[in-house]
Symmetry: C2
């Protein structure tokens, strides 16, 4: 399995170890109902699978965006100093386990987690508001793929250089011979700070990258989305115990929104590595902490550049799906749509700005109003503040092409929902469209021409960050211009997507997630730096014994 | 040649493309005299090989530590804004040259430089104060080896991932097929800031690493040691011109000590990469500049741990050489010698602290007083302040086992010279021995036992940095303890060196120089991060055209 993962990493072609669809044929007839029941049985209980001793309290205030009621699940609250002391002790155990065994143990944990994908899906759904399908895919198989990718990358990087070699230097009359050896020395205690929207997908890469490189890990989930990652931590700890290792190699550090422990953990001098997904202000604070290696995914402004298309209806349908998907709560969701004032060239003639705006609005509406698709694609809104932001956007100067509204989720009448708002903004109003407006918010920006569209998309990516970019052009020279200019802003571009593939999507083993080159984040899933920065090469040397 | 370099990098075994000894058999009978004459003919002249237009002035105040007279060589002074504008224009040319061609051009420049190693040696000698042999080896072949290593590493890392692949995802009834492509996008303008003691060795790694990854480079040498690296820059520019490329891909930015331009360059928003060798205060300032990738080699406190030895005289001779070599002006020179109060165990019984101190002093003296070796091993003192530091150390509380003195250099009567001072310090006086005392200064620290020696060496490396560590023990368990503890302080250890190999020495293709893990610096010659941080992977994707 490991060899396969390594090969896959080398090839960077499509690879998935974990079937992404929750089909009964793959996971068993009763997997779904068992998972749902397991999730339901956890509600109102202590989550006692972790075996983390000496809880000073049992805490938790997760709430389902579908029911707007508390899950009433409680997690152990362990003092920060005790968490770090335990992590430090465990570090000195774990760092001495060789890389092969570390990788084996971590792969075993992923294999175990496969049988818990349904529970994790329901846990994700009722903390993040994702629809069931996305919750299953993103928190289960896709997260596990990202974890596997991190294991493979760490396994490979730690073996880039030989563990020992004889250095033989001719000096004329004699040779100097040294035994040289190189050790991949882990940094120490690693802190992984989770987010509320993708509690496993955005965290497991850092967790597994730190673990495979020999660091101990403390996971501080977002207080609104603890359960999904708690199940991961529980399974990792169980495999550690079975291998007679200290389970505190991997600990959960739950907290509640009224008493956050993130800063106390991050600023602790023994914490050497920090992974973070979340807002830019906190991410930049973490990046500035002295003496730490910090990996961030922060906010960005994602653009769509519309120049020319083959079939404008397919394009509008594809982009409407991207905007609706999880109600725009993905870090890869499009926000700024740049459309030339002269319109979009198509095979059937030019489609004006207004015609395209209407098409996009219509496609969004028809998806929302499709009872078999809408509620499941949009899911629910994780955070009340997102709804407030939508209201504020509707008051901005500019034509509102589509107002946000609610819809009925047949399963969950009390679900917190909001459909996308579409606002037209002139390209001169840069202050409006140069910040991330998280949630189901799309801005239609009228530009002079495609060159200005490219220039604005690039400028905003460089200044404010970008994680994804969509672009539509039938002209190869314009596509290459966009590819080159956005590359200089370190932003990946999805060209001419139609049909069942969307710019929001991001596959392990072939898409680097966040490039690390613009303000949207300083790290990338999973390039060599992502694992290399978690350990340090140290070389020792000594004369061959015969020469002593 | 390139394939060989790549192979060598993989193997990390001994490899040298450039013969390190200045023998007539290798370099030609007249190479030495030609090189010396060429150097002498440069004195008093404008260095006009660069072809950098629009100099606002011709400047330079280099001085030979051997004659204490000005070299009177003048370099073009170009305004910072013009340097950066030219570098930016050249960047967009250079980034479009493919990796193979970039590597080929850079290898060609190294091959040309081979014929200038003697000039470079004399230039190094008369700016740094190094003895001729070190000046030849360090600034010529060893620097070229480090440059070659950087080229090989950059070449390899930029090809870690394929430039394109088809991503084929089964969706049940159909497959989604995307063309995915990955670009290694260089960061932009790179600034390399040189030091006064190793003007080429410490700079070429950054220069060639930035160039091979597609960045344009501005080299800001130390105002006291411009000529050696100016010759490198001139040769690189000539090869660029021959290949019809903008020579401003690589520019020299000379200044004088009374009007330094380093900060103006470093803070320029278009400068994205900075390499620096020098003092910790300036290095930390550079590391703190926002929006830059910074590679530093700063100061450290290097330790020698003496526990037990086979032949104490061989050990004393080896360490005396390490202390005398270039009058202790190497960043890898030992400073703190930890000796147990009970003495050093040897095959012939215990050697007391005092006996070892005397042996070390005697060995230093006998090397200094050997007219065939002393002047050439010690060389001259680059900076007057080093002499002032020696005087200050002799006034510190503690027994002075050896006072610093001068000696006669037969060739250069006015050479600025100083022999090592040996001061005994109690292990309780940590404030004295916990800072770098650059120059021919060695402290003999009396510890309770080897455990305390290890503990102090580790603590100082973690708090104040360390680039090298020497250790002597005949006990395998103690050696492993030292190896493990110093690895946790990210410091490489040379064990039991005697004979013609010294802890100060550091070979390309097998010794990572500076680990990047402790305060002595945040970068390492040449690990994958050293080149990977100079570019960013950006992936674009588009449906296969048949599906559009």
């Amino acid at each position: 399995m490991l060899a396969k993962a390594i090969d896959a990493l080398h090839a960077r072609t499509f690879f998935a170890a974990f079937p992404e669809n929750p089909s009964p044929a793959t996971y068993g007839e009763s997997a779904d109902s068992n998972g749902r029941e397991k999730f339901q049985s956890m509600m109102g209980q202590k989550f006692d699978e972790l075996g983390q001793a000496d809880a000073q309290d049992w805490i938790g205030n997760e709430e389902s965006p579908y029911t707007q009621e508390s899950l009433e699940i409680k997690y152990p609250s362990i003092p920060v100093s005790l968490l770090v002391t335990r992590a430090t002790t465990a570090f000195h155990v774990w760092r001495k386990v060789n890389v092969q065994d570390r990788a084996g143990i971590l792969l075993e944990s992923l294999d175990r987690l496969k049988s818990r994908f349904f529970e994790i899906a329901y846990a994700t759904m009722h903390t993040t508001g994702q629809g069931f399908m996305m919750a299953f895919q993103a928190s289960g198989p896709h997260a596990a793929d990202r974890a596997l990718e991190a294991i493979a990358a760490g396994y490979e990087e730690q073996q880039r250089f030989p563990s020992k070699a004889v250095w033989d230097k001719p000096m004329g009359k004699f040779n100097i011979q040294l035994n040289k050896e190189w050790r991949a020395v882990p940094k120490g205690v690693s802190l992984v700070i989770g987010c509320s929207t993708f509690p496993t997908w955005n965290s497991v890469t850092g967790i597994y990258a730190s673990l495979v490189t020999g660091n101990s890990v403390i996971i501080k989930p977002h207080p609104g989305a603890i359960l999904p990652i708690a199940i991961f931590v529980a399974e990792i700890r169980k495999v550690l115990v079975e291998n007679n290792l200290d389970p505190n190699i991997c600990q959960l550090a739950a907290d509640t929104s009224d008493k956050m422990i993130t800063k106390d953990l991050a600023e602790h001098p023994d914490v050497k590595l920090i992974d973070f997904t979340g807002n830019s202000a906190f991410g930049s604070y973490l990046e500035g902490l002295p003496g730490k290696s910090v990996f961030t995914e922060k906010t960005g402004v994602n653009s769509v550049i519309l120049d020319s298309v083959e079939d404008v209806d397919k394009v509008a349908a594809n982009l409407a799906f991207s905007v609706n998907l999880y109600s725009g709560q993905m870090c890869t969701a499009p926000q700024n749509f740049y459309i030339p004032e002269s319109g979009i060239k198509t095979a059937q003639g030019t489609v004006s700005f207004d015609e395209f705006a209407k098409k996009l609005a219509d496609n969004i509406n028809s998806l929302v109003d499709n009872p078999k698709a809408g509620p499941f694609v949009l899911g629910a809104v994780q955070n009340k503040k997102t709804c407030e932001r939508i209201t504020a956007v509707e008051k901005l100067p500019g034509k509102v092409w589509l107002k946000s509204r609610t819809f009925e989720n047949p399963q969950f009448k009390r679900a917190r929902v909001a459909t996308p708002v579409l606002l037209e903004v002139d390209s001169s109003k840069k202050d409006i469209f140069s910040e991330e407006l998280f949630g189901p918010i799309a801005l239609l920006i009228k530009t002079k021409n495609t060159d200005q569209s490219i220039s604005l998309a690039k400028e905003l990516a460089l200044k404010h960050g970008a994680i994804s970019c969509g672009a539509y052009s039938t002209d190869a020279a314009i596509r290459e211009k966009i590819a080159d200019e956005m590359a200089l802003a370190f932003t990946p571009v999805s060209f001419n997507l139609t049909g069942g593939i969307y710019m929001n999507q991001n596959a392990a083993f072939s898409d680097f997630h966040v490039t690390g080159g613009n303000p949207a984040g300083n790290a990338s899933f999973t390039n060599p730096d992502y694992v290399n920065k978690r350990f340090t090469w140290v070389g020792h040397r000594e004369p061959l014994s015969v020469n002593r």
